[in-house]
Symmetry: C2
Subunit: 241 residues, 2 copies
Amino acid sequence: MHSLTEQNYIQQLSIDCVIFGYENQQLKVLISTLKFKGDFQVLPSGFIYQGEDVDEAARRILEDRTSIKDTYLEQFHVFGKADRSNRAFLDRLIELNPDLVILHQQQRQQYEWFTRRFVSIGYYALVDMAKVIPQKHEIDQSITWYDVRQLPILAMDHNEIVQKAIDTLRLTLDQRLSAFSLLPESFTMKDVQEVYEAIYDKPFARNNFQKKILDMNVLERLEKKFTGAANKAPYLYRYIK
Amino acid sequence: MHSLTEQNYIQQLSIDCVIFGYENQQLKVLISTLKFKGDFQVLPSGFIYQGEDVDEAARRILEDRTSIKDTYLEQFHVFGKADRSNRAFLDRLIELNPDLVILHQQQRQQYEWFTRRFVSIGYYALVDMAKVIPQKHEIDQSITWYDVRQLPILAMDHNEIVQKAIDTLRLTLDQRLSAFSLLPESFTMKDVQEVYEAIYDKPFARNNFQKKILDMNVLERLEKKFTGAANKAPYLYRYIK
DNA sequence: ATTTATTGTCTATTTTTTAGACAATAATAA
DNA sequence: TTATTATTGTCTAAAAAATAGACAATAAAT
């Protein structure tokens, strides 16, 4: 990794990613926990290289954490308050981790660079959790999936950012047909319904839900899925286009 | 105005404003024409001061050009391609205006600053054109309202930006109840319908349109408007809340 | 008083959404 | 082999919403 103080990044502009997954009827968000004393938890974030599209940068950050290349990813809001800064967060981190005392000139510069006011572009991604390969050798942070209803307190305004991402997801889900990105290649109609129920945190009527989804004309019906349960086997479906 | 090369602005981050107005059944956009040889037309743009919210900056830019303080203003998209730069635009401008030869050190620096890659945050505003007071002493640019269907070719990706703003406006108009911001304090139902027709570029059925708007429960009915026409006088309405 | 153009609103029709019902079926139990 | 059970897929009925058609009210001109 290059030095942050070099001019390879756009200054004072960052990307925060709200990476959604789905498991056990729960909508999840990927959270980074910093490996320092104190519970410092943040959204996966990063900066934009000079020669890089902002969208590319978001995709790179997503791939860095999940190994996933092609999935639903979309910009949803810019967080631009004048007091948006890592300073309070980093000062607290240094306070709880005295071994991190800043001595060297370069560390001082990094600290200054990192604690300036930042404008952040929020992106949200929808991924198939089963395809996520957490990076093995993350030095300073580890990642965990949290149920969106039980998020920990995150650094800075990251809880707000997640909330805004959920709001946007709910408003655009049907238009963008993005729910299927949370599921594996093939799935049952019940799976789709449970994804919707997790996202909107409310139940849907099965008969009408099935009609609505089929009327979208984006699902191909595959073979039946025999689960061993003592009842009619559901069909599997696949998202097309 | 401070020097651009000073650190008072966030570097490589700009705001482009799509300022919508409405007149004569036409949806209009405010365009700046630079006072140089060659037709250089751009969206009203600006930068963000270090101590300023991004939203504040957008509002400042809007007020600078229109004198309007309180009106509908909303962020809608970030334009972040790696090749987004004023360089081609500025080179062409210098080419056509040889008197602008860059000699001084400071001019050189300004040129470098201004022609770097920029990430731009798009905002759109909806204003009552009658309330707009164009700035009298604009040195290097003048503003004009254009029908959105007859926009000139704008610099950089500004035509794309306008299109994206229109798309967003159409998608969110009913939710945000923002159409009324294009009209004066009081207006007839016909005015509202014509605003909608200008925005969506399609006709609406009068009877059902009136019902839909009244069902929003955001209009107060005022006295009648006697136009002198030989027919029933329409009621005036006022947007509340 | 009659005519004209437009407005406000009502009702009928069509379409869409929601609710209710039931046959099909995969395994299990009798 | 034949009920039983739980769930799925789909149909129809009912309710709600959107669209289309109709008409009385009315402000000014004839």
